[in-house]
Amino acid sequence: MSSLSVVRVYEHEKYRNVYIVELDDGSSRLATKNLVPGKKVYGEHLFRWENVEYREWNTYRSKLAAALAKGLKELPIVPGQRILYLGAGSGTTVSHISDIVGLKGAIYAVEFAPRVMRELIVVADERPNIIPILEDARMPQRYRMIVEEVDGLYADVAQPEQAAIVADNAEMFLKDKGWLLLAIKARSIDVTAEPSEIYRREIETLKSRGFDIVDIIHLEPFDKDHAMVYAIYNRK
């Protein structure tokens, strides 16, 4: 019923190109500058401030937003980067990364479910920096013709062998010292509790395949099942 009124908008102190929208009900929201003004992607709020349109970045809908809200050490995504995104879904997080990297950047968005890809393609149609790829992330050779060398790898694949999948993709496409953001399953209600066995094994796989772990952030209360792993890749 009531519409939200913006009090002010300013850039996040720690995460450049991410904005904070303060509302008149006293709350504030994360947001990115909308690359395609007037268009929503997943029903998020749009805010205008000083002639710029911002899109609410919903911390309950996007794990990356949740990781930022929980204080991830840094946001490695910057304008102009090329990024390989595994498990792009219908484009919620992809669209915000698209806002951040801007028109000089590119996101290679891999998604295997046709049901979901049909929505992602609508987003990609409007955003020239999203390159949709309907393939299985477990077989990166199938999209070798499309993806170039990338600066970063974002993965949210909900597969049992996610660390191996990520490493295989990194080997083919990720540059040396490139970054990885991996949303990893870590079902543990108690934040302080020890992570599960599987989770630990996945982290080990990452390390053994060249990743230096920089930070791990649990995403509750926004997402109770996942943690976000931030790592840097070292080519042998």
């Binding site: 590119a106 393609i121 390159i131 499309i146 170039e148 083919m172």
Partner: protein, 392 residues
């Protein structure tokens, strides 16, 4: 020891690299999105496509392949090439290919294919979207029927928008009868009612805020002040505004359906869509019943789809059969002088028939060719029949 040649498959073509990563041979794709997509589709299915085949043949003629091993990233391709007697090795991301992948945007510009890297990525974007649509077709169960339902829903909504707009005009005129004359366009009228309500709220500023031009805003506000309409209560206005808001929602839904149809049609009938656009394309599907039915209709029937009544009347009475059905909505027919319309309709129907068949049987995109041929034929008709035929 054997020499190695590395095969790099890219969106612009297939490249053969030596151990230093230097290009020794290459075959480029034509800069035609439809064809490139077909080629890439084969690769992504693990099949050797014509460009890769050509590259291998060229290598055969130039290099001693018996002492050379081809290094390739895809094992299915490797298997196929091995069966042809070529020595092949599978490797994931050898540094030569890795480096080539890194440099590809730059190389594609150096080869003169694009004026800069931005243009390269733009092309990549378009190719990827088309490639993805082609892949989605495999999962396209009955999506032609969905487009048909959506276009019929648009017709239902149009009827409703009209019905409700007429009702709202009568209703709101009890309060502000003069607005009916000033604001003739339904959307504007209803936006005013929905967002401002009582005529007392119709000050120029508020009207301008919802998109009315300053001149008209002033006029409406002046007329509002002198209105002879009755005063309404909040609850009277609330219910009128609720109806007005649902009208706006329906209007919005109409746009969503239009966008949806565009997406579905690009996937299920890209060639028909290239010729007549998604909406008219969906109407043709709707009249035929499905893409399959449309593909099976003779061009002469496609020409009069949607004019069944006139056709049967002609058959019954021996009168002149109709020259065009729903394809009359095609601008080139609508805008043409009367005596050219039948001929243009025939030309369009012929191309539509071909397009529907390709859409149904293969899904290959030849829309650009079909369209340019159609435009050529229309120009020809215009030249050949510049004047009305003489009556005898």
């Amino acid at each position: 020891m054997n020499k190695k040649i590395f095969i790099a498959d890219t969106v612009i073509g297939a490249f053969a690299l030596d151990e230093n990563g230097k290009i020794v041979e290459s075959v480029l794709y034509p800069k035609d999105i439809g064809k490139t997509v077909e080629e890439l589709l084969q690769l992504s299915e693990g099949k050797v496509n014509s460009v890769l085949n050509q590259l291998v043949e060229t290598l055969k003629s130039k290099v001693d392949l018996s002492s050379t091993t081809l290094v390739i990233e895809d094992s299915s391709l490797a298997r196929e090439l091995t069966q042809r007697g070529v020595a092949v090795e599978v490797a994931v991301a050898p540094k030569q290919i890795l480096e080539f992948r890194r440099l590809l945007p730059k190389i594609s510009v150096e080869l003169g294919l694009f004026k800069d890297e931005d243009e390269f990525r733009e092309y990549l974007h378009t190719v990827s979207i088309e490639l993805t649509r082609r892949k989605l077709r495999r999962y396209a169960q009955k999506r032609d029927l969905l487009a048909i339902q959506a276009i019929r829903a648009i017709d239902d909504i149009d009827k409703t928008l009209n019905l409700f707009a007429t009702r709202l005009r009568e209703w709101y005129s009890i309060h502000f009868p003069e607005l009916d004359d000033i604001s003739k366009e339904h959307e504007e009228y209803i936006k005013i009612v929905a967002s401002l309500g009582f005529r007392d709220n119709m000050v120029p500023d508020s009207l301008v805020k919802i998109g009315i031009s300053e001149g008209r805003a002033k006029r409406i506000s002046e007329v509002a002040k002198k209105s002879i309409g009755a005063d309404l209560s909040e609850m009277d206005m609330n219910i009128i505004q609720t109806v007005a808001n649902i009208w706006l929602e329906l209007y919005d839904l109409r746009q969503k359906l239009t966008d949806y149809i565009a997406q579905v049609m690009k996937e299920v009938a890209p060639n028909v869509t290239a010729l007549v656009g998604p909406l008219l394309g969906a109407r043709l599907l709707s009249l035929a019943g499905s893409l399959e039915e449309l593909a099976k209709l003779p061009a002469s029937t496609v020409q009069v789809l949607g004019a069944e009544k006139a056709l049967f009347r002609a058959l019954r009475t021996g009168g002149k059969p109709p020259k065009h059905g729903v394809i009359f909505q095609y601008p080139e027919i609508r805008k043409a002088p009367k005596w050219q319309r039948g001929k243009i309709a025939r030309a369009l129907a012929t191309k539509l028939s071909i397009a529907a068949r390709i859409d149904f049987f293969t899904g290959r995109y030849v829309g650009d060719e079909l369209r340019s041929k159609l435009i050529e034929r229309i120009e020809e008709i215009k030249k050949l029949y510049p004047k009305p035929p003489k009556r005898e």
